[in-house]
Amino acid sequence: MLRLIARRLALGVLVALTVMTLAFLLTRLSGDLAVSIAGPSATQADVEIVRKAYGLDRPLYVQFFAWVGRAMVGDFGQSYFFKDSVANLIQKRLPITLTLGLVGLSLALMISLPLGILAALRENTWIDRSVTMFTMVGQAIPSFWLALILMIVLGLQLGVLPISGTGTWQHFVMPGIVLAFTAIPALTRLTRSGMIEAMASDYIRTARAKGLSRARIIFKHALRNAAIPVVSIAAVQLGFMLGGSIVIETVFALHGVGYLGWESIAKNDFPVVQAVVLVLAVFYIGLTLLADILNALLDPRLRTG
């Protein structure tokens, strides 16, 4: 178990380093940073001053290692646009994105687990087919469209929820629902197929032969095994939700990390871009590791590996 965690951690560090390198190189590939920072009305002399001031005249590898070295201790430099340190910016935006991601994932699990289990237990009935239909429709609906519909119905017509901003917990309900819908179809189908497979297995026949109650058979013996793939995918989905919620953050004017990344790309604020990419990558790595650990806890066969 410890060896498994150590191996996954080492792998995670490698992935993080790779992501840092790529983020660094790709921002440099997007054009001459000194020119874009100096602005369109700058003279050649201004650009040279900017280049010196930001250290962009140094060789690429020197810039890279300087950045990596500082990033290791949490110093991501200054934003060119916000007049604030990048670390501060991310610290301010992160809680919003994390709240949104967790609300989204919780909602997704609360909806997809019961639906998947229900569909599996009623396989090939109208209930099962309705659930499948629901997941297909859910998969096909674009996030921004669902967001707008919810805003119109819940926000404007019924007036039960605020349509934008981050003031109270109510502000996270609608974005959470929209975000949840990006994960619900996959999680529901996984739960369903996992439960169908588990319920048809020999060990469930044994559990029934032991005279266990139906609830215990379903929720202890079958769900424990069906949950293994669901946990892996849920972790990946949460990573996806944290990074990929840009559309939702934009529509609902939630100023989270995704939105920050999008803004800084548009403004060529490359220290922020690099840091956002790195932070999201670290989250992704952490979540995958967490999924591996949870899976090892759920499935004893993985513990020795």
Partner: protein, 325 residues
Amino acid sequence: MSTLLEIEGLEVTFGRTAAVRGASFRVERGETHCLVGESGCGKSVSALAVMSLLARGGQRSAKKMSFAGTDLTSLSDREMARIRGNRMAMIFQEPMTSLNPAFTIGSQMAEVMTRHKGGSRAAALDRAAELMARVGITAPGMRLGQFPHQLSGGLRQRVMIAMALMCDPELLIADEPTTALDVTVQAQILRLLAGLKRELGLSILLITHDLGIVARVADHVSVMYAGEVVERAPTAELFRAPQHPYTRGLLSCVPVPGRVQRDRPLGSIPGVVPAIGAGFAGCAFRSRCGHADETCTRAIPRRQAGDAHDYLCRLEPDWAEPQPA
């Protein structure tokens, strides 16, 4: 000896296929009763029907299904669950997959006890360890904390047996319990089952296709063919004077010392068990039987060949030694 389990006219259908067609057999207290026959003749389905464990789509009906005086056909699912694992336990052909991979041996064994008899988990674990020792598992204390994948097939089958014994059942149904195991382990498991029967007064319904096993452990035998019990007899009598052509065919397929001649090949029954649909009449074996004539398409009488020996065939009892086919 009194009857523990009495099954009469058991029918099981899966959609349009009739898997069991009016099977009747009885298990006396303290005896080992064998259901024997080829693959697909309805042995396992009959046992699962007794346990109410049929897969989805399986429909069961019976003239009589009586277990220790209780009418099993009248029980609700909930009431049946109270009997399963408690007074009537079952072990299966596939020891490798019959245990839940996600839970320890101890937790899977203990829950049978806490479910049916109540009591603490610690007491249930004690009982589990005691039974594991009884079925010949060394270091039971350590095994309790292990997971199924850490055990061999033979050990897992022993765990299944020990688990089946947790609530001291009256009946143990064993569905081909040794088929997936290698020969030395097979012999150990059979010896174990025989010992349990003797010492605990356990009644065993053993399902097998292996006549060697039947000869070794059975007190009574019911031979099944295409969903029917075609012959019932005490074991010794069945081997001495089989009456049904199918039973004779089965016996000719296995080497018996003194009966098989060195230079002649062993017998075989041509063809396979036919799938039987609704509305089938007459003898299901007629397509493979050397004695078949037109009367075999009509209803077949059950003939008596001894006190506890009957069979389903148009032929009169014949006491001659069966000849190799």
